[in-house]
């Protein structure tokens, strides 16, 4: 089973994503950037669903940059999630090497198909 790491500070959103993906993938969750990086190093997830806005020193964009800079993790499929209309974030995320981008409220079907396309269903 492929591993997915969900990073979002809101437990409810994590739960929704977990519900969406839990049947097909092994799910790991982190509520902040620091935990996310620890879990990523430990679990080597196949994909990371990463919220851009998070409390703390590091946000999702920082996590993305660190994943891309890490020799072991740099190939990880990363989907960024952020609030509506933040075009600037979108561009930054693509520049920083995000593989996919979802805008909240996101479509769960779109999320599933992003992953399925990447993994070849």
């Amino acid at each position: 089973m492929r591993k997915i790491l969900i990073v979002d500070d809101q437990p409810d959103i994590r739960r929704l994503i977990h519900l969406t993906l839990g049947k097909r993938y092994e799910i790991h969750e982190a509520s902040n950037a620091a935990d996310a990086l620890l879990l990523a190093a430990e679990q080597k997830p196949d994909a990371v669903i990463l919220d851009v806005m998070m409390p703390g020193d590091l946000n999702g964009m920082d996590v993305l940059q660190r994943i891309r800079a890490d020799a072991e993790l740099k190939g990880t499929f990363v989907v960024m999630v952020t609030a509506k209309g933040q075009q600037a974030d979108f561009e930054t995320a693509i520049d920083a090497g995000a593989d996919g981008y979802l805008i909240k409220p996101f479509s769960p079907l779109q999320l599933m198909s992003l992953l399925q396309e990447h993994f070849g269903s």
């Binding site: 959103i13 209309g85 909240k104 769960p108």
Partner: protein, 739 residues
């Protein structure tokens, strides 16, 4: 609900609730999509189930025919018939074969041969290898029917010789009427079944066939199937029909036939061809049921003609149906679908100068030509006049549609001879693709039509694929050009909506709202022109005009002794990004002579959250000078509450969507309570927008909201009306209340 001042970004806040709620709605939407797909699959399943049943029916029919029309089986024990198939009963014309002596049914002149056969079987010879014997059988009417008769021993290995099984194949292929003994079936409007030979002549019909068609068996047996032809379907239809039977081997669909009485009726017809081992068609099995009662009950009687009488092509009704089907099929199979709108160039001239008869003949030829170059799965329909359409399902690329359009142009090349006239028809073809140009029927049709007009506009005899510029975008374009001049022509103006205390007694200020009255387009909604202003960049200049006009108006009111505390103007992100924004605002303020406290800038929540620090510093600077800043549409965006506390903001405006739902939506209540409570904690003012009912107001007052704006108290008004309105307010409440 209380907010500890340092709660920061926890899940327990209005914005987060709103975000989660929005996310849940998104899930619900996807669920709806899945449910629709489920529905579609169910329908598909039902269609498959129906065809499965038709296949079963065919199988039953085949069995029936095998027994009735060709071969009969009998078993005898010591010469007595012990069992007989139904076909044997038909063959001998008797239902009481069992118990009779088979020998008694043999014609006198064949008795010797019959006895010889039985002798051979007792001698152990393999009768089958020698082929059947030609034996004369006597049927119930005393007529002699010649048949090839075999004794088959395969079934009776080891059985006694007294038990024999007989295969009887009548030499004369008689025409047969199958009596449907099951009354209930007939009453239920049983299905007509028939079998016709390779030339289409009816050989077998059942009761229901006779009942529906009105022909007695003796009137229709031996007659060609076309006795039922109504003339409603044109030549083109029959060509397709026979091609389908020769190609696919089957056809099914709804057609209109004619009863003996001359009455037309719709029927659902299924026909399949039967072939011999060399592949030659030797006959046709068919069945149909009468749809007229169904149609009557559905009130569809008027739609009896599903096909265009002139050309035999499907008409608009069927076209729409097929389009729907093709779109859902494309959606399921992830393929593209092409829609052509085809119009003949200068057809009106043909009609006007050579007459309608010539025009009609031309249309028939055009229909044939269109049908000749399209694929079997495509639908060519005539919508009326010289308007044709082609539905092309199952395309993998837009260029497949180009190829077919090219073929259509080519096939139109040869001139058409109608009587003494030589005509040179040429088509204009408009193409719209599903899903790239539209995912609903109306859009696709409109766009194919639009592309067709462009093809015609380019001189005709051409095809053109829809382009985004073709459409409505022309309206946007002209709206845009009209809007570009709106400011110079003085078509823009401001209206002002009062913001009051929740008791409606005290005027807190007004919000300036931009309006556009275009001489060409009438009153255009801000929802339409603001986006145009945004992306055309005109918003910067217009925004400045708004600030200047609002300030000037405020000054004028004050001059006239009508004191308005504050005017709020909406600021677009583009204005705010402008490096000169701060200077410009201050300049306009100074120009009007108003104190800075009289001007408020409204910025929407979602935009405010996007701004980099440098922009926020501009707001902060203005605020330090005395202006106030309000967050507009609060509750709709995704706010980082921790950040909200650091923003240079004086006031938040609860979005009208929450206010609207206050009376019947617990979530909206919770959210607006959150917002009001949070604002108090952060020492911000709250204005509720869009307050329209006393019920909404009561909720807001309960929540502690102190300032409201909406139709309940006052609609947006022109400056003069504002003056009158303020005059009334002060007479009612005393001047001291106008803060």
């Amino acid at each position: 609900m209380m907010f500890p001042p340092d709660s920061g970004n926890t899940g327990d806040s209005g914005a987060l609730v709103a975000e989660l709620q929005a996310q849940l709605y998104r899930y619900a939407e996807d669920l709806y999509v899945l449910m629709s797909e489920h529905d579609e699959l169910q329908q598909r399943y039902r269609a498959l189930d129906r065809s499965y049943r038709s296949i079963s029916d065919y199988r039953d029919l085949l069995t029936t025919l095998m027994y009735s029309a060709s071969e009969a089986y009998l078993s005898t024990s010591s010469g007595q018939i012990t069992s007989a198939t139904r076909s044997a009963a038909v063959l001998f014309g008797s239902d009481e074969l069992v118990g009779q002596n088979l020998r008694g049914l043999i014609a006198a002149e064949s008795l010797a041969a019959f006895d010889e056969m039985q002798g051979e079987i007792s001698a152990g010879d393999n009768v089958r290898s020698g082929g059947g014997r030609l034996i004369g059988l006597v049927n119930a009417s005393g007529e002699v029917v010649e048949a090839l008769v075999w004794i088959i021993d395969d079934f009776s290995v080891g059985a006694e010789a007294e038990q024999l099984h007989w295969l009887v194949r009548p030499m004369i292929q008689d025409r047969i009427h199958i009596y449907d003994r099951d009354q209930s079936r007939q009453e239920l409007g049983g299905e007509a079944v028939f079998y016709a030979d390779g030339n289409g002549r009816l050989l077998v019909v059942n009761d229901s066939f006779c009942r529906i068609s009105g022909y007695q068996p003796e009137e229709c047996l031996g007659q060609p199937m076309r006795i039922l032809k109504s003339g409603v379907q044109g030549e083109h239809f029959y060509r397709m029909f026979w091609e389908a039977l020769k190609g696919n081997g089957s056809w099914q669909g709804e057609i209109v036939n004619r009863r003996k009485s001359g009455e037309l009726y719709p029927e659902w017809l299924s026909v399949a061809s039967s072939r011999d081992s060399s592949g030659e068609i030797v006959g046709y099995f068919g069945k149909f049921h009468d749809l007229s009662r169904l149609h009557e009950s559905e009130g569809h009687l008027s739609k009896l003609a599903y096909y265009d009488v002139l050309t035999g092509l499907p008409n608009r009704h069927i076209f729409q149906d097929r389009l729907k089907m093709a779109m859902s099929q494309a959606r399921r199979s992830n393929t593209q679908m092409g829609l052509f709108f085809i119009d003949l160039d200068r057809f009106k001239q043909v009609n006007d100068t050579l007459g309608h008869d010539v025009g009609d003949e031309l249309l028939k030829v055009v229909a044939q030509r269109l049908a000749s170059v399209t694929r079997e799965m495509d639908t060519v329909a005539r919508l009326g006049g010289d308007e044709f359409t082609v539905i092309l399902p199952n395309l993998s690329h837009e260029r497949d549609a180009h190829a077919i359009a090219t073929k259509i142009l080519e096939v139109f090349q040869p001139p058409v001879q109608v009587g003494a006239h030589l005509l040179f028809p040429s088509p204009s073809i408009g193409i719209a693709m599903f899903p790239s140009h539209g995912t609903d029927e109306a859009t696709l049709i409109r766009r194919a039509d639009m592309a067709m007009y462009h093809a015609k506009g380019d001189g005709g005899n051409a095809f053109r694929v829809f382009e985004a510029d073709d459409e409505g975008d022309t309206r946007v374009f002209s709206l845009e050009s009209a809007f570009r001049q709106a400011l110079d022509r003085g078509e823009l103006y401001l209206v002002y909506q009062p913001q009051l205390s929740a008791d409606g007694q005290t005027l807190h200020g007004v919000e300036a709202l931009l309006r556009w009255r275009s001489p060409d387009f009438g009153d255009v909604s801000p929802n339409v022109f603001i986006p145009i202003a945004e992306w055309s960049g005109a918003i910067v200049e217009i925004g400045r005009w708004v600030i200047r006009t609002a300030c000037a108006q405020m000054a004028a009111w004050r001059e006239a002794g009508c004191h308005v505390e504050r005017v709020a103007v909406n600021i677009s992100p583009r204005q705010l990004r402008d490096a000169n924004f701060t200077a410009l605002v201050i300049e306009e303020l100074e120009h009007s002579g108003l104190p800075a406290e009289a001007l408020e800038l409204e910025i929407t929540e979602s935009e405010l959250m996007l701004y980099p620090e440098s922009t926020l510093m501009k707001l902060d600077e203005l605020r330090k000078r005395g202006l106030s800043i309000a967050i507009d549409d609060f509750g709709t965006g995704y706010s980082n509450l921790a950040r909200l506390r650091t923003l240079p903001v004086d006031r938040i405006k609860v979005d009208r969507s929450f206010v609207q739902d206050l009376e019947h939506d617990g979530d909206a209540q919770a959210i607006s309570t959150c917002i009001v409570t949070m604002a108090k904690v952060m020492k911000l003012d709250v204005v509720a927008e869009g307050v329209e009912t006393a019920g909404q107001l009561r909720h807001l007052v309960d929540q502690g909201c102190t300032s409201v704006q909406g139709f309940l108290f006052a609609q947006p008004m022109l400056p003069a009306s504002i003056e009158n309105w303020i005059g009334l307010l002060t007479t009612q409440t005393g001047e001291t209340n106008v803060a």
